[in-house]
């Protein structure tokens, strides 16, 4: 992977910096937007590569915002990975710092609770769109859809650790079932 120069770093920085400010509900809620920009708009990667990168990010330890690190690397190597991660996390971290200081000073306002309640349906809507986009990129056969369905039911109904389901999915994939 070659360094695509300053231009692509700048694009990464403002793409993810801007996106983070609208990423209501965290990184998983931003997945449709990440996919729209990385695959449809900028052609940084194919659908399959996007699904692969999502899989790697879910296998990795740490916060799920790391999908952005992987995309940054794909675009512009190690520097791209750092720029994308900082752009996605930095601005909102600064915002969180100032808002938390402001709120500890004026604790009586009803607005935080109202805004929080107003955001709930939006973030679940965004997450649902993430589910759809990821299903369209990942589930390319009926067996794949079945694996997704079984994982969803097991995750909902049992206390099985998620990593076991990811590993089981990986084993089935390796065996050529998917």
């Amino acid at each position: 992977m070659s360094d695509h120069g300053f231009g692509s770093l700048f694009t990464l920085a403002w793409t993810f910096g801007l996106m983070s400010l609208f990423a209501v509900g965290g990184a998983n809620a931003a997945i449709p937007e990440i996919h729209r920009i990385a695959v449809d708009l900028r052609h940084w990667m194919t659908d399959t590569q996007f699904a692969d990168i999502f899989a790697i990010s879910q296998l990795s330890p740490g916060p799920n915002v790391l999908i952005v690190t992987l995309i940054g690397y794909q675009v512009a190597g190690i520097v791209g990975a750092l720029v994308a991660t900082l752009a996605m996390c930095g601005p909102t971290a600064v915002l969180a710092y100032y808002v938390s200081r402001f709120l500890t000073r004026s604790n009586q306002s009803p607005w935080p609770a109202i805004i929080q309640a107003a955001l709930v349906p939006l973030s679940i809507g965004l997450m649902s769109a993430s589910g759809l986009i990821l299903m369209l990129t990942s589930d390319r056969s009926w067996i794949a859809v079945l694996i997704t369905a079984v994982a969803a039911v097991l995750a909902y109904a049992t206390r099985l650790h998620p990593l076991w389901m990811l590993l089981a999915g990986g084993c089935l994939g390796f065996a050529g079932v998917v």
């Binding site: 729209r36 990168i53 969180a96 965004l126 769109a129 999915g169």
Partner: protein, 145 residues
């Protein structure tokens, strides 16, 4: 930090945009040591995983074409999507139990705008958020009155 303070901070970081866990760690760190604590928490939370993921990204760039690896990752992502659906359903359940039709309608509208129409995220949020705040505010006043 007391349990109440933690819950308050946790709630705060859930309504701020961006990666929640990162925001939470920064606010948490800054409560102890100001800006330096915030930066330390930010670096501490992100540093090690970013290093690991960057190594994985390099390996993927090098070996991503290998068919067995592609098959394996495809299997992992199928399962990961399932986990996400379970998480979405858990979050949706309170809205369904409360028969919060307005909330569910907003949810469906955002889903359609982003997932089906593939509209840009900023546009959708800039329309949906004021609308949702106005509706929430109006309903709370009606309940209070």
């Amino acid at each position: 930090m007391t349990a109440d303070e933690f819950n308050e901070t946790f709630a705060l970081c859930h309504f701020l945009p961006g990666p929640n866990v990162v925001n939470l760690s920064v606010v948490f760190g800054s409560r102890f040591r100001g800006v330096a604590g915030g930066i330390a928490a930010f670096a501490g939370l992100l540093g090690p995983p970013v290093m690991i993921v960057t190594i994985l990204a390099a390996l993927y760039a090098r070996f991503g074409e290998i068919a067995a690896l592609q098959r394996t990752l495809a299997g992992v992502s199928c399962a990961a999507v399932g986990l996400m659906f379970s998480a979405i359903f858990r979050m949706m359940l309170p809205l369904i139990r409360k028969r919060d039709l307005v909330g569910l309608a907003l949810l469906a509208a955002v889903f359609a705008a982003i997932g089906l129409l593939r509209l840009p995220l900023p546009v959708v949020i800039l329309v949906a958020l004021p609308l949702s705040i106005a509706i929430t505010f109006g309903m709370r006043r009606r309940v209070a009155a």
